[in-house]
């Protein structure tokens, strides 16, 4: 497991056309990695994420995505993702295919992927219109009771990208706090990239901690603040004001493009991004 710069990690491991899952349920969202994908101009990505957040709004608005697998696409506590809406409603900057689920369905699909099963069964989607619009929602019959259950195909991303609190020098990664479906998305992936707040000699001992083992981790990039404006429990809190500001920035194509140019395209890396927002190294 090598420790790479984020630029090298994305260059080496994320290709045009890949299926990419950047998970994090409000917490530990890999913003820095998403920005680097935008800087490197990846195209035609199949993006997967339970809750497309601002970072997916940005990727979609910048034309990186061909397809989106998701279950809830909003700005949490604020409202719409305007770039996602513009893509779906108006095909701008181009058409976006949707593979739409519920949270329970996405969770089951990640779990199946992590276990290398081809599908997950669950009691879901009953009497909703979702299956009529998604051929990836089917049914399976219990071979014991005859009951019919919903079935979703496993998600096995080409690359899963996470942000976590810590990695050790061997490449073991530990996460604390709200962990969403990150562990399952990680274990389901063909490659796993992780940005971390800190790299330590040894993870703090914690017998039943949530750890991603080094031989499952493809590369680690040391990227402090890499979840900002989302948060990293124990390091910094969520910049709720930024999430609120994003509503105005993203509402119009012009203000969105200008912001992306100034803060992502014209910055070299995550430190540059933070600097462009008025942060100065202490």
């Amino acid at each position: 497991m090598p420790i790479l710069s984020l630029g090298d990690a994305i260059r080496d491991h994320v290709a045009d056309g890949d299926c990419v899952a950047m998970e994090g349920f409000t917490h530990l969202i890999p913003f820095a990695a998403g920005h680097e994908i935008i800087r490197q101009g990846r195209r035609d990505l199949h993006l997967v994420r339970m809750t497309p957040d601002l970072i997916y709004d940005q990727l979609i608005g910048m034309g990186c995505a061909r397809r989106l697998t998701f279950s809830w696409g909003g700005n949490p506590g604020v409202g719409s993702l305007h770039r996602l809406r513009d893509a779906v409603e108006n095909g701008w900057p181009h058409r976006l295919e949707l593979d739409e689920h519920s949270h329970a369905g996405m969770a089951a699909a990640y779990c199946a992927g992590a276990a290398r099963l081809p599908f997950g069964a669950l009691r879901a989607y009953a009497n909703t219109d979702l299956p009529a619009h998604n051929t990836a929602i089917r049914s399976v019959q219990c071979p014991f009771t005859g009951e019919t259950l919903a079935a979703v195909p496993a998600i096995n991303p080409d690359v899963t990208i996470l942000h976590a609190q810590r990695a050790d020098l061997a490449g073991n990664v530990s996460l604390q706090g709200i962990v969403g479906a990150q562990s399952e998305a990680a274990m389901a992936a063909k490659k796993l990239l992780v940005t971390v707040e800190e790299v330590v000699d040894q993870l703090p001992p914690s017998m039943n901690a949530i750890v991603l083992p080094h031989w499952v981790v493809t590369a680690v990039a040391h990227c402090p603040g890499g979840a900002y404006p989302s948060y990293a429990h124990g390091f910094y809190s969520r910049d709720n004001a930024f999430y609120q500001r994003w509503d105005a920035i993203s509402r119009h194509r012009e203000s969105f493009m200008a912001w992306m140019q100034a803060h992502v395209l014209d910055t070299r890396d995550h430190d540059g991004f933070l600097g462009s927002l008025g942060w100065k190294a202490a």
Partner: protein, 265 residues
């Protein structure tokens, strides 16, 4: 007359419905305020579950997002999200689920997916999230949603969550494990399902709301219960507690973020 806003009336009405000790699956916004208000008032042992995986949460301020750090810090414990849906919700271990939506119909079915046709929507909404399975599995659901003919509609553009389907026992016949919408708390008062038809009918009005207002706000021909209750005005204690919670929340969310190794210019 306490000068309560309709948002406050909705929140307090919802809080009053929660019995102590019940297990609630909470959403962001009014439901989160209602559940925490109940916890601070008459239901200190209510168990709040947020779909981000926090269980037994006792936040001091309301979260802006479903996964705020405050929720994890004040939780009894935090589990991976798949467990929330499989071991808790699907397993039938949730008493009350809160739901919102963009549209509701007369049988409590909900739309939070699209306005217009799915393939070419005029408005793309955020989508289902955890709602379809909350609607299916929670022992009962409470819907919180402000009323207008655009939100309380005769015909949904998309059914994201099952309420009572076409009513008249259709939900029970479909085998849905949960009981469906027990109440719709809106800004004029409360709708409840008719015992036989399950059609939502006006069951209660806020102190200063009228039946005419309710009928005008609903996009279908609203049935009215023979006995429409008058909802007691918020007490001073309820209102003070709710307002203090909101004040604490506003203050906390204004606190600037500290990013280790950086200062903000």
């Amino acid at each position: 007359m306490t000068g309560a806003s309709r948002d406050e009336c909705m929140t307090i009405a919802a809080a009053r419905m929660l019995r102590d000790g019940c297990v609630c699956f909470v959403g962001i916004g009014l439901p989160s305020a209602a559940c925490n208000l109940a916890r601070l008032l008459h239901a200190p042992n209510i168990v709040l579950i947020y779909e981000s995986g926090t269980i037994g949460t006792r936040p001091n301020v309301l979260p802006l997002s479903i996964g705020d750090g405050e929720l994890a810090e004040t939780a009894s414990y935090v589990v991976p999200l798949p467990e929330i849906f499989s071991h808790y919700l699907q397993a039938g271990r949730v008493d009350v689920g809160f739901l919102g939506a963009a549209q509701i119909d007369r049988f409590g079915n909900l739309n939070s997916t699209v306005v217009g046709p799915y393939e070419h929507p005029s408005t793309r909404l955020p989508g289902a999230g955890g709602a379809p399975e909350i609607a299916t599995h929670a022992r009962q659901t409470f819907v919180m949603l402000k009323a207008s003919p655009r939100s309380f509609v005769a015909q949904l553009d998309f059914r994201t969550c099952a309420g009572f389907l076409d009513g008249h026992g259709a939900r029970a016949r479909s085998g849905a494990p949960g009981g469906g919408p027990g109440a719709v708390i809106t800004d004029f008062g409360i709708l409840r399902p008719h015992p036989d038809s399950q059609e939502l009918q006006l069951a209660a009005l806020f102190e200063d709301a009228t039946q005419a207002e309710a009928i005008a706000a609903v996009g279908w021909h609203l049935q009215v219960s023979p006995q429409v209750e008058r909802i007691a005005a918020p007490t001073q204690v309820e209102l003070n507690t709710l307002r203090a919670l909101h004040a604490r929340t506003r203050e906390a969310h204004l606190r600037p973020v500290q990013l280790p190794g950086w200062v903000h210019a």
